[in-house]
C-alpha cells in the first residue's frame, strides 16, 4: 500500500495518445474514472427512465432529480432560464457521480484535480459571458457598473465589480477541488495510521479502534460532502446565470 497520502492523486497514463501542440491527449486514470462516472450517470438515468405511470423506486429517483434541478433553476434564475436545464443537470450529475465513484477504494477522484474543476468552472463562466453578450449585446457590460451611483464612485466600483466577477470561476473551482482533496487526504492519513498501529505491537493494535472509528465517520462525512459540493456547484451556476437575464441589479 502507498504510504504517501498524496500518492492517490497521481496521474498515470493508461495508453498513449497524440500530442497536439502543448496538449497531451493520453488516456489517463483520471480520464478512465471520468468515463466510468459518465457511464454510471447514463446507466442510472437509462434505468430510471422507463416511463411507467406508477413509478418504481429507480424511476421516482430519476423523476425527483429532474424536479430537483428544474426547481432549483426556476427558483434561483427564473422561468426564462429553463433552456439552461440540460447544462445544469449534466453538470450536477457529472460532478455528483465523479465524487461518488471516487469514494470507492482504488478509484481515482477526478474532481480532486484543480485542472478538472477549473475546466468546468471556466466553461460555466464563458457560457455566462457569451450568452449575456448574445442576449443583451454590449449592454451586458453594465453588470460591472451598477446604476444610480455618484459619478465619482465609478472608478472605484468598476474594478471591484470586475474582480468580483472574475473571482467567481476561481471560487467554483477551488471549492470543489479543495473539498475533495482535503477529504481524501484526511481519509488516507487515518487509514495509514491504522496500518501503522496494527503493525507496531499488540497494545497499539488495540488502540487502532480509535482511527478505525474516525475513518468510518470521515467516510460518512465524505459522502455528504460529495453530494453537497455537486449541489453547491450547480446552484452557483444557476446564480451566475442570473447575470444573463438581470443586467440591472
Amino acid at each position: 500500500m502507498a504510504n504517501n497520502p498524496m500518492e492517490q492523486f497521481k496521474i498515470k497514463e493508461i495508453f498513449d495518445g497524440p500530442q497536439i501542440g502543448p496538449i497531451d491527449l493520453s488516456f489517463t486514470n483520471s480520464s478512465l474514472w471520468m468515463v466510468i462516472g459518465s457511464l454510471a450517470v447514463i446507466i442510472f438515468l437509462g434505468l430510471s427512465a422507463r416511463g411507467k405511470l406508477i413509478p418504481g423506486r429507480l424511476q421516482s429517483m430519476g423523476e425527483m432529480s429532474y424536479e430537483f434541478i428544474a426547481d432549483m433553476l426556476r427558483d434561483t434564475t427564473g422561468p426564462e432560464a429553463a433552456k439552461w436545464f440540460p447544462y445544469v443537470f449534466t453538470l450536477f450529475f457529472f460532478i455528483l457521480f465523479a465524487n461518488l465513484v471516487g469514494m470507492n477504494p482504488y478509484a481515482f477522484t477526478t474532481t480532486s484535480h484543480i485542472a478538472v474543476t477549473a475546466a468546468l468552472a471556466v466553461f460555466t463562466i464563458l457560457l455566462v459571458i457569451i450568452a449575456g453578450i448574445w442576449k443583451n449585446g454590449l449592454k451586458w457590460f453594465k453588470i460591472f457598473a451598477p446604476s444610480g451611483l455618484p459619478l465619482i464612485m465609478y472608478p472605484i466600483i468598476i474594478p471591484i465589480e470586475i474582480i468580483s466577477f472574475l473571482s467567481r470561476p476561481v471560487t467554483l473551482a477551488v471549492r470543489l477541488f479543495a473539498n475533495m482533496t482535503a477529504g481524501h487526504v484526511m481519509l488516507k492519513l487515518f487509514a495509514i495510521f491504522i496500518a501503522y498501529l496494527v503493525g507496531k505491537d499488540a497494545l497499539s493494535a488495540g488502540m487502532a479502534i480509535v482511527p478505525i472509528m474516525g475513518t468510518a465517520a470521515i467516510v460518512a462525512l465524505e459522502f455528504l460532502v460529495a453530494a453537497l459540493q455537486a449541489f453547491v456547484f450547480a446552484i452557483l451556476t444557476c446564480v451566475y446565470l442570473n447575470d444573463v437575464y438581470h443586467v440591472d441589479h
Partner: protein
C-alpha cells in the same frame, strides 16, 4: 429476584398509551439525527463559501495587479492597488453571499410549527 420484581413493577403502571409514546419518542429521536447531520453539513458549506469568497477575491485582485505590473513594468504599484481592490471585492462578495443566505433562511415557510427556544441558540 428483587431486581426482576422491581422492573415488573415499574412496567405494570405504564399503559399501552405510554408505551406507544415511548416508542414514538424513540422513532422521533432516530429520525432527528440525519436532519442534524445535513444541517451541520450546510453550515460547513456556508463557512466554506464565505471564506473562499473572501480569499479568492483578494488573490484575483492581486493577480490582476501583478499581470498589469508585468505589462507596464511598474512593479509593485499596480499589485498593491489590486490588493486593495481585491480586498474590497472580497468584502463585497462576502456581504452579498451572507445577505443571500439570510434571505434564504428568512423565507422558509415556518407555518405554525415554530421552533423551540433552545433550538435556536447556535
Amino acid at each position: 429476584m428483587t431486581n426482576e420484581n422491581e422492573t415488573s413493577k415499574t412496567r405494570e403502571p405504564s399503559s399501552d398509551l405510554e408505551q406507544l409514546e415511548q416508542r414514538l419518542d424513540k422513532l422521533k429521536a432516530k429520525h432527528k439525527k440525519p436532519e442534524q447531520d445535513t444541517d451541520a453539513g450546510s453550515l460547513l458549506g456556508m463557512a466554506w463559501r464565505l471564506s473562499t469568497e473572501l480569499v479568492v477575491a483578494v488573490l484575483v485582485g492581486t493577480g490582476l495587479g501583478h499581470l498589469l505590473d508585468r505589462v507596464f513594468g511598474t512593479a509593485p504599484w499596480i499589485l498593491l492597488v489590486g490588493l486593495g481592490f481585491g480586498f474590497a471585492a472580497g468584502i463585497m462578495n462576502t456581504l452579498r453571499v451572507a445577505e443571500k443566505m439570510d434571505a434564504a433562511t428568512s423565507h422558509l415557510p415556518i407555518g405554525d410549527d415554530l421552533p423551540d427556544e433552545d433550538e435556536n441558540d447556535f
